[in-house]
Amino acid sequence: MQALKRSLEILKSSPALFILLLGFGLFPIYTSLVDLPFWNDVSMRIMLLGMAALGLNLVLGFGGMVSFGHAAFIGIGAYSVGISQFYGIDNGWLHILFALLFCAAIGLVIGFLALRTKGIYFIMITLAFAQMLYFFFVSLEVFGGDDGMGVDRAEFLIIDLWDPLRLYYLIWMALFAVCLLLLLIINSRFGVILQGIKDNESRIEAMGLSALRFKIIAYVLSAAVCGLAGALFANWQEYVSPDIMHWSRSGELMIVIVLGGLSYIAGPLIGAIVFFLLEEFLPEFLYFIAPDYSENWMIIFGPMLIAVVLFTKGGLMAIFDQLHRRITRRQDTT
């Protein structure tokens, strides 16, 4: 209870996150007013990708570990739903529990092995593990192999998900919980030391702390968050295939984080929103000026990403942060 009170206090200190969560919460009202329910679907997709990116950002942004294999955990989370249903387990809470447990367990094994390396070796090892898992699911003919398997929207005891809005608010609540949890963690004793390790690992070791333990725990937590996103993703898509854990999705998560700003909790969410809007509208824009190339919207997106990285020094959130500071300073002086 105290943790909840504290997390709400912290939420006040992060207005961007507060606005984003509120916005996601109110969005379906807007779409029903303008009668565009399709946009609820987009919003759900943004929240899910944002949630996974938030999970990755715990290790990438706050722990300084560039993991290039987090799509694997989304996949494991999604397959936890599919495979559970395959064996007749229909309870959605159980699916989520399995997703969290499997991702934490596999995250522990991968983290334990991979976190002994640093820099480029760590990137490559996490990618290698993710590729192993990808091809593992490709080869599992029982569960559809390459073609994947259909998934029914799960039953969550009291709530079933026949109405898409219920799924929307389930995802929203999960996102809200993940945001609060991460806010608490990065301000906690554990989180502060994790950020210390990112800053200067040898100093943290010289204080008598084993950096490896902190990194492994952060890795496990981040894997579990991606697993949760994956489990909800399977419900949203009503379909699971190895495609969900393709290596390019790991890259997508990193792009989303870098775009939004990796030293901010709200960064990955902003990144996910902008990324999806661009993915939606850049092809249309390209179709308008060069119809043959509308599929290659990344040609424009790439330079935009580079510009954000070069000029904002900390992603889109850095701009918001500066604005916020300027406003509060003006309030202080008046």
Partner: protein, 249 residues
């Protein structure tokens, strides 16, 4: 009851043909400053690294309070009572001075695997952190980022972080490196006031500071001890004068 805090027995370490440490024996007692001097490349920092645990000796024993610690990692040795300051300032540059001290205080107190208790607003941690900064006279810079303070102040912060864990054995690797004359005097006086609480092994090139601080001095040349004794003995030792200190005229 013995007062010997650190004891090295026949420590040897080679990198290929280069002998960094050759059968070194040395001890540091509580309340004592034992200085290690010698020309560049004499193996002083290598010896500190072996005591700290980031390098392993090829042979020999390292005893901390009588306990053999050869096969332990640096973080374990720190928990057993070793504090180290680095030759090149090794602080958390992205954090404020106070936060640096607070994280060190947190590490000392333990209970670090708490995922929901706030760190930077914890009153007891803040008090502890202020105490640490007070010891080196850096309280006035608490709110500055460690990256933004002067070089000399960063040397002070480095020293503060080394003593923050309340170590029995303090390893100081050139605490005055790069500090100005005024700052050097300040840091020297702080090391002197801390002396009684720790056993200190000091590497320093500033001979004024060494002869002011040290109770015992060991002179290292090419990995070998060529002399060891009180400051008076060392300054009158002809071998040392030829090898390192110069004739003085």
């Amino acid at each position: 009851m013995t007062k010997v805090s650190l004891e090295l027995k026949d420590i040897s370490k080679s990198y290929g043909a280069l002998r960094a440490s050759h059968k070194l024996c040395l001890s540091v007692n509580k309340g004592e400053i034992h200085a290690l001097i010698g020309p560049n490349g004499a193996g002083k920092t290598t010896l500190i690294k072996q005591i700290y645990g980031s390098e392993q000796p090829d042979s020999g024993q390292i005893l901390l309070n009588g306990e053999l610690i050869n096969n332990t990692s640096p973080s374990v040795r720190v928990r057993k009572g070793i504090g180290r300051s680095f030759q090149i300032s090794n602080v958390l540059l992205g954090f404020t001075v106070l936060q640096n001290a607070l994280i060190a205080e947190l590490a000392r107190k333990g209970k670090v695997f708490r995922f929901f208790s706030p760190a930077f607003s914890d009153p007891s941690l803040l008090t502890g952190a202020s105490d640490i900064l007070g010891k080196v006279g850096l309280l006035h810079q608490s709110e500055k980022l460690a990256a933004e303070i002067s070089h000399g102040e960063r040397r002070l912060l480095e020293l503060a972080l080394a003593i923050a864990t309340n170590p029995q054995l303090l390893l100081l690797d050139e605490p005055l490196a790069g500090a100005g004359a005024e700052e050097s005097r300040h840091i020297t006086s702080i090391i002197e006031t801390l002396k009684s609480q720790h056993a200190t092994l000091l590497i320093e090139h500033d001979m004024d500071a060494v002869f002011k601080l040290a109770d015992r001095i060991t002179v290292l040349v090419e990995g070998k001890t060529i002399a060891s004794g009180t400051p008076d003995e060392i300054s009158n030792n002809s071998v040392v004068r030829n090898a390192y200190l110069g004739d003085g005229d």
